[in-house]
Symmetry: C2
Subunit: 522 residues, 2 copies
């Protein structure tokens, strides 16, 4: 704090040098150097996080890696009287992913779908032993019961990433998954995924940029058409919902606010090999030919819904001007996609949404793996062969030995696992097993069982699909149309985490209806 | 459109290759290749902007450079039955600058202070001869009555900037000003200005990053204090309002959501040489020593307000923990400021707000100049010696020959000039002088006269200053405190351009009051 003392001194000298000319600063500076000045170093209680192994007089520490559905639901449910919670993630918020597609075109605002973790579990910012660290986990040491982390500095060159170690009593890995590119060249460089708020921001900025660039004098009609060709690869719920939102945006807002170029903008949805989504990621790399030959048989959008609903979605989307095509993408260049048969598809905006797979970090972990390369867990979501490590959400899957299938990478699976594990850990703590290496004698209760509550997807123009059956074969409610859309909106509105965001989502929907979508490119 | 035809063909071939296996795509694809397919090239009416000199059967064209207060008020007021309007600007929205400081800490959302130009003047996106171009002006040719432009591609490497020319009947230069750095080394690289939405976004991201980084285990107390030292350079309304907002954020939200580090965060406001703001930019470069010696006499915040209000502001800010100091900045490094006497001031966030000066492009224009290097105008805001060119807002100033002082760079000056010029151009068009080179015989009416309506500034904690006098010496209302704050909020709420944003500003204020500020770092 030497610099600070000197700074104060300097300010005082300057003031005392002209005592005959008192000005407002005199007050402020004397105040500054006495009461408001920095307290002596000793008086500032050191709140340096102590992340060595917990002592008997401390609460046991649960370290949570990640801040998605699974991690956040877990943290919300954890009993902070029984545990200290430490969360490590490169983002300080949870994204309400089902509504992310709506933010790309301004139907919803970005902040309406982002929930700060400190609001989901206030302990991480207030309790003495609980923390949130904006960092990536770089290594797990099960024997030492510790994780290695490195701070996220976000491209600020003046900041060196800071490395630190956290010891855990319980470790929950909830690192999620990352977008699958199936090793296709150029996807990472040229396509935009749709998994984080910054992806949605990038899509919105690029879409608005292209709309404006295409209106510039002297640009050829072909280039104009390319700039305004929005291609979505992947016919799952995200790709379909985004296509629907995009066509709504075009029909209402582009026609009104970009009338000069409205006839040039088009949306194409390319459905590619849904089969690869359920296959082992590695299998695709080993047998790409085999798989690509069998693809055309399996092509269809929204494969998790039944035939009737799929037909309805197809009809609605084509009615809205979305072109549905099938193809196998071979290569992605900066302005065009090249299909397997050599066809070139120029584009101005390319959104890639062909499912997810485990991240390189998850694959690199020396832990048991499930089919598909996820972290393998038993029926209680424990990682066997190591102690006190659990895995939930998209990064985890049942081990083959459990005889259960790997669950799909869905928000509702992750959320349910987070809730289950919070209850399990709370009961473990009550039984005195919170501390590291103390769990083995404790009964864990019922294993985790997943019951599918149903699927929903909007297709634009106030229409949606709702399928409340446990599987395609089961009996139950499945419907499509405006009523479904109303159910879709109501259901998600009640699922939004906080009252603040619930309020903003409703307000956003209202203003989109009344004033149209916002087109400022900020 | 060759690629498109081929694409359609391909899709059809694929479908016809398996006629025994009809699926939903068959419908969609036949639809795609017939009705919803691209219309033949001839049928798509070419809407390519024609920006050659206007023909007698066209409306005369007003080209507006810029999208700030002056440009937007002008475009709003222009009679689009008499003129085609073409706006050239690197951003497609206007920023409601008086509320920008509030967005840095989340009191308001970014979009609540950004107004799309297409909503201010809908003609630019719908009328056949009116356009908005996302571009920078790179040259003005008064003899040819044309401007050269280059599209903004925003760092997207696959897009080459596109150059084009626009011919004007009337040209309005409203390019604004840029932040003054007085040639101090390192300011552009390390400090953040506060003039655009992306500046506010950068400040918010950096502030939240620093709050989180400072909580990481093992970081030294000195580094923690540096990361959380927010330095504001410049004691004008922007610097003061930002400091006030920042201290509000610290007192409420940091104490609640970043409780671990709340004792380490501090705000320092450094006031530097207000004298340089009214001096010729060039003079400062010629006589830097002379000026820096005289600086300490003139140091005080909010120099445009009277003593009583300034004293009040000083008291309020220091009460909120803002340190007010004076100094001459010599050099800015990535983590510290160096003052003239060698004192080093470490910082984590540096916001620079020491007034504005003409941009290099404005200085490079071969047009008459006012004192201070702005574009020189006569009493009717015309640029003499060239025909049909007008200049308004911060980029313009009265010529010395008019005997009038250069007006301050304020939103209310720019707005008034925009309004005045819109009326002048409308009446010129009515009198048949809209066309290039046809204005000279027409009486222009009353010259532009600026009457200052007063100044306002918030200082945080529901307090503000309001001075409704024309000058410090004049009689009239001047008050400080909660009532002023209420006047400040009400006044700005009514000034916000659209009902949509007025609604959102009110909602943002409401949710900030109820739920606190948003701290998601997106």
């Amino acid at each position: 704090m030497a610099w600070f003392g000197r700074f104060v001194q300097l300010a005082n000298v300057k003031n005392s040098a002209r005592p005959t000319n008192p000005n407002h600063f005199l007050t402020s500076l004397s105040h500054f150097s006495s009461t408001a000045g920095p307290a002596p170093a000793a008086a500032v209680r050191s709140r340096q996080p102590n992340l060595a192994p917990t002592r008997p007089d401390e609460k046991p520490r649960v370290v949570v890696l990640g801040s998605g559905w699974a991690a956040c639901r877990l943290m919300k449910g954890l009993d902070t009287k029984a545990y200290d919670v430490v969360c490590v993630s490169p983002r300080n918020h949870m994204v309400f992913t089902p509504l992310l597609a709506s933010t790309c075109v301004g139907t919803l605002e970005f902040r309406s779908v982002a929930e700060p973790i400190a609001r989901i579990q206030p302990a991480i910012s207030t309790a003495p032993g609980s923390y949130f660290f904006l960092a990536n986990c770089t290594g797990v040491d099960p024997d030492d019961h510790s994780v290695q982390c490195e701070t996220v500095t976000d491209g600020i060159s003046s900041l060196e990433p800071w490395k630190f170690k956290i010891t855990y009593d319980k470790l929950v890995v909830a690192l999620g998954a990352e977008a699958s590119t199936f090793g296709i060249h150029g996807v990472n460089e040229n396509a935009i995924f749709l998994r984080e708020v910054h992806h949605a921001q990038e899509i919105r900025r690029k879409l608005l940029l292209n709309l404006m660039l295409s209106d510039v004098p002297g640009i050829s009609e072909e280039e104009k058409r390319r700039l305004l060709h929005c291609v979505v690869v992947g016919g799952g719920p995200t790709g379909v919902e985004f296509s629907g939102e995009l066509s709504d945006f075009i029909m209402k807002d582009v026609h009104q606010r970009y009338a000069h170029v409205k006839d040039f903008i088009h949306v194409t949805l390319i459905e590619v090999f849904p089969i690869a989504r359920v296959l082992d990621y590695n299998a695709f790399h080993l047998f790409p030919k085999l798989i690509s030959q069998s693809l055309l048989q399996a092509n269809e959008i929204l494969s998790s819904f039944d035939d009737r609903l799929r037909r309805y979605a197809t009809k609605q989307l084509t009615k809205s001007g979305v072109r549905l095509v099938q193809g196998v993408v071979k290569d992605v260049k900066s302005q065009k996609i090249i299909l397997n048969d050599g066809t070139e598809v120029p584009y101005g905006l390319l959104v890639w949404s062909t499912g997810v797979g485990p991240s390189p970090f998850v694959r690199s972990l020396q832990l048991p793996k499930s089919p598909g390369g996820r972290i393998g867990v038993d029926e209680w979501l424990r990682v066997p062969s190591v102690r006190d490590i659990f895995a939930i959400g998209d990064c985890s899957g049942f081990l083959e030995s459990t005889g259960k299938p790997v669950l799909p990478a869905l928000a509702q699976v992750a959320e349910r696992q987070g809730k289950y594990l919070a209850e399990l850990l709370n009961s473990v703590a009550k039984a005195g097993g919170g501390r590291a290496n103390s769990i083995k004698e404790i009964a864990l209760g019922d294993p985790f069982v997943y019951r599918h509550l149903g699927s929903m997807a909007t297709v634009g123009r106030y229409k949606a699909l709702v399928d409340l059956r446990q599987s395609k074969e089961a009996k139950g409610l499945s419907l499509a149309g405006f009523t479904s859309w109303f159910i879709w909106r109501s259901a998600y509105l009640t699922r939004v985490v906080s009252w603040r965001n619930r309020f903003y989502v409703a307000i956003n929907w209202f203003t989109t209806f009344v004033f149209g979508r916002d087109i400022s490119r900020i």
